[in-house]
Amino acid sequence: MSATKTHGHAAAHDHHDDHGPAKGMMRWLTTTNHKDIGTMYLIFSLVMFFIGGAMALVVRAELFMPGMQLVDPGFYNTMTTVHALIMVFGAIMPATVGLANWMIPLQIGAPDMALPRLNNFSFWLLVAAFSLLILSLFVPGGGPAAGWTLYPPLVLQTGDAFPLAIFAIHLAGASSIMGAINIIVTIMNLRAPGMSLMKMPLFVWTWLITAYLLIAVMPVFAGAVTMLLTDHFFHTTFFAAAGGGDPVLYQHIFWFFGHPEVYIMILPAFGIVSEIIPTFSRKKLFGYDAMVYATASIAFLSFIVWAHHMFTVGMPLAGEMFFMLSTMLIAVPTGVKVFNWTATMWRGSLTFEPPMLFALAFLFLFTIGGFSGLMMGIAPADFQYHDTYFIVAHFHYVLVPGAVFAIMAGVYYWLPKWTGHMYDMKLANIHFWLSAISVNVLFFPQHFLGLAGMPRRIPDYSTQFADWNMVSSIGAFGFGLSQLLFVYIIIKCARGGARASEHVWDGAYNHGLEWTVPSPAPYHTFDEAPVVK
């Protein structure tokens, strides 16, 4: 962001015609305050992160040794399926929405989100969605077990959980669409005077583009699962060859949603990292314009690469060629981003507080995920990698030390602004090192397993895969347990600690509007719009 000067923000906390939050539970049920809703989203996603994580640990415990020791193969499939659905739709997406709710109004100088009641509705709809999904684990026939991609015909064999899971997805999708509309309307209409689009913080930019992706693809996904529903209950045959349909059609529709979905999870992460690296380098973001254009290019390309998830379904040569080349193209704007972050650090004045540590780990480890992504984009090689642990390693690298680390970096960056307290830096450093080491112990060996030929989504394996699976499982438990520390640090910080200043980090001084309001940010901010020059 270019140098911003504000006046009038001081008025934010001494206006007294504003009322504070309502008392008790009603505050949380009826709130339309972007900060309250942001907090609820973040807490919700943290809870989901632990539920989804517990499921991942069931999986890794079963895979600790060859032979079936703990669970039935059917239940194992439920664990991998629901783990993914919860992590994607319940943990990562709501976490970025929570950050958006908290930070977008603060970063653009708006008093709140543009559609506050819709905001409340989006959140509580999400709670309903995940209550249904978790309920589906306890109905006759067991939970959904066909993988988070819900491919037919297999998914049609699901028991009573089937309509529950589909309806959960509908609700979560509706929640996302409403959230996205809210974010777009807010950014388009409530920017402070003087804040042109090309002066917006990168986090706001990446979320604006993400919101458009959400509106474009969530209805597509809703359509696909609705067709599954009618195939199951109303004897349509959209996805059954026997009635003139095609199971592969589902995969095309799913991945037309699914690939942009990947960027829905990672673009806000790019935004967070683009805020943090300049702050702790004490230098302006390198190539701001290029960053915006790269984000937009990635978003556009995400619509024309979907079939690289399905190189083995038997596409014609021309199709495989097209999707291979378009996929490789994504490396260019992604490379630009990585180079720009590196150039931002170049000749900076770096310090390594916890947000910066997580952002740097993101930079290295997301790049590794990018390399394996490029390798899988090469269609002939993908015939070997497809549906092995290599892809499991790849997408966990971009989602865990990628998206999740960026979210944690964001939490450590803005937590003092939210609570008004500094958190325990020493513990946060320990949390970082434990996470950064264990995440690699957990996921790096999975590259080897995939190359050695271990398929994904299997509950048991031949003895040649035993060694790296054991290493990976040890890493998984290390990573899972380390996250308890994260919760402890957050609770401790919410309860008290050294007072945080307005700009919290010395590098954040003059780095954006959120650092001009007091810490903790008052319940109502920017009643009077600041002026950005």
Binding site: M65, P66, G67, Q69, V71, P73, G74, N77, A145, Y151, P153, A241, A242, D246, P247, S281, R282, K283, K284, L285, F286, G287, T312, L317, E320, M321, M324, L325, M328, G335, F339, T342, A343, M345, W346, R347, G348, S349, T351, L360, T367, I378, A379, P380, F383, Q384, T388, F448, L451, A452, P455, R457, D460, S462, T463, Q464, A466, D467, W468, M470
Partner: protein, 301 residues
């Protein structure tokens, strides 16, 4: 404690097993195998090419990052510079990746064309995926059979079976009736599914393809080394997805022919008494029922 002991025992057994049987147990494997077909080797080399390109880029990018982190520290008195643009640098790091990508795309496209060419095959085998087994049809020979997880593996893989899986030969990678193909012949495989989508994959042949109900996919391989090659279903297909391995024996042409002859003879022997019964009962039973009996007998065999 018991688990730890079992785990330690498991590791040492694995090490022993690795010494014993080379093909199945290769502990701590790191890389893709080269395989035994021209295509699998080409894919391997492509994989190594991209891998090394990625390594070179990674070394370059990571060294700049590490250098920045080590050098431009506030604690070392670094003062931040004031630049935020450099058009030359930005053009360079956009154009060079494009050139690298083109360099990768050319050999990849060439390989893709070869993979796609299933013409001129010496023989055709139809593979059908079932929950949870494979069926192989030698379409020109009238030989057809099912291939399921071996009895020993199946017993060992039950929850808390108490069997030490390291003592089961080729645990989870062994079947009752392997597919048998001749060496140095172009084999076209037609892949389809009977119930849900499966995926037929033998890593040593470099090829995997979805087995989709109602559709027929093609792949081909030409194995140039005699041996037994093992693979697994590579598309989630339900509860026992992890328990429908693929075993292919690649044999000399002569051995293949005698195997084929014995298969045909066995089938005839099995079908003959059934056909006789059918003739005798023909007057009273409906012809459809008789046909069904014949098929059942053949399958049971």
């Amino acid at each position: 404690m018991k688990t730890v002991k079992r785990a330690l025992g498991a590791i040492s057994t694995a090490a022993l097993a690795a010494l014993w049987s080379a093909p199945a147990a290769a502990a701590w494997t790191l890389n893709l195998r080269q395989g035994v077909t021209p295509l699998s080797r080409e894919i391997y080399h492509l994989h190594m090419l991209i891998f090394w390109i990625c390594v070179v880029i990674a070394v370059a990018v990571f060294s700049v990052m590490i250098y920045s982190i080590a050098t431009f520290r506030k604690s070392k008195g670094a003062v931040s510079a004031n630049f935020s643009h450099n058009t030359t640098a930005e053009v360079i790091w956009t154009v060079i990746p494009v050139m690298i990508l083109v360099a990768m795309a050319v050999p990849a496209a060439r390989t893709l064309v070869k993979i796609d060419d299933t013409s001129g095959a010496d023989m055709t085998i139809k593979v059908t995926g079932y929950q949870w087994k494979w069926q192989y049809d030698y379409v020109d020979e009238g030989v057809s059979f099912f291939s399921t997880l071996s009895q020993a593996s199946n017993e060992a893989r039950q929850l808390d079976s108490g069997v030490n899986v390291y003592e089961v030969e080729n645990y989870l990678l062994d079947v009752d009736n392997p597919l048998v193909v001749p060496v140095d012949k172009k084999v076209r495989v037609l892949v389809t599914g009977a119930d849900v989508i499966h995926n037929w994959w033998v890593p040593d042949f470099g090829m995997k393809k979805d087995a989709i109900p109602g559709f027929i996919n093609e792949l081909w391989f030409r194995a140039d080394k005699v041996g037994t090659y093992r693979g697994q279903c590579a598309e989630l297909c339900g509860r026992d997805h992890g328990f429908m391995p693929i075993v292919v024996r690649v044999v000399e042409q002569a051995e293949y022919e005698s195997w084929l002859a014995s298969q045909k003879a066995a089938r005839q022997a099995a079908a003959a008494p059934a056909a006789q019964t059918a003739d005798q009962a023909g007057a009273v039973a409906a012809p459809n029922a008789n046909q069904k009996t014949t098929v059942l007998v053949a399958n049971a065999e």
